[in-house]
């Protein structure tokens, strides 16, 4: 049976509460993983493993969190800004992420702010619908 968005959010919330040692009310849709919730690189792998288990889906880390490999590519990032080509690549690789606010000032330091709880919920929703 298909899960509603609300159910997906609740499950994602539980995953993040367990993985990052948070309280339920800290995990809002708008919360950013690194800035607000304090996630570090190893936590992303932990989150990936937990999502796979909770939802019974396969989550290649590159798909959910591809930023690391993209950020190290000079074609995509130059002078601390994401280039047009980079932006197109990010959008293609991250269909579950909202770039509307980022496009006007594609400062690389703001990139982490794009990874929100909502983007994980979107990702899981797309995965479940595709299955």
């Amino acid at each position: 049976m298909a899960m509603s968005r609300e159910e997906i959010f609740e499950e994602v919330q539980e995953v993040l509460v367990d993985a990052l040692g948070l309280d339920d009310d800290e995990v809002t849709e708008e919360a950013t993983l690194m800035g607000d919730l304090g996630a570090e690189s190893i936590d992303f792998l932990d989150i990936v493993f937990r999502l796979e288990k909770s939802f019974g889906i396969k989550v290649p880390r590159e798909e959910l969190f591809p930023a690391e490999s993209l950020m190290n590519n000079p074609e995509f990032v130059s002078n601390g800004k994401v280039t047009e080509k980079g932006l197109a690549e990010f959008k293609a690789k991250l269909p579950h992420t909202d770039f509307s606010g980022f496009e006007s000032d594609p400062d690389i330091n703001k990139l982490p702010d794009l990874f929100t709880v909502k983007s994980i919920v979107n990702f899981v929703e797309q995965k479940l619908n595709a299955a």
Partner: protein
Amino acid sequence: MRWIWIDKFIEFNSGKSAVALKNVTLAEEHLHDHFPGFPVMPECLMIEGMAQTAGILVGEARNFDEKVILAKIKKAAFFDFVRPGDTITLHAEIESISEEAASTVGRIMRGDDLIAEISLMFSHIDNNLAGKEFPEENFVFTDMFNSLLTGFIGDKASSEQST
């Protein structure tokens, strides 16, 4: 004293689970300070023992090709003291394993008594940390650890080490 907090393996199911055993003895220096008059095995060393048990399990699952580093303690809950003379068993299971990392769940028992529940995350550091480079040789799995597996997986560990 050597930095090794398990004495031997008593079960080893490659890629799945392992059980290690440790005998706790008053010959261990730190027990005399932790705490004076009330010696107990420090909980942090039980975590290290579990990291060694689970870490060897994770390393062997990939033929010791990866440098396996403890990256995160997901859970560590303790239910009783471990005293000199106690024999504890450390039970570790691989929950997930991928190119970059592995997660394990585990518990420490004294006979039938639950002493601790310890779940860990390990990083395969060559596939992580944004391509940072590490020495070629596998400095994590030294002969000291490989010898623990003698009798369980033949000479696989030691022959990998020497090639």
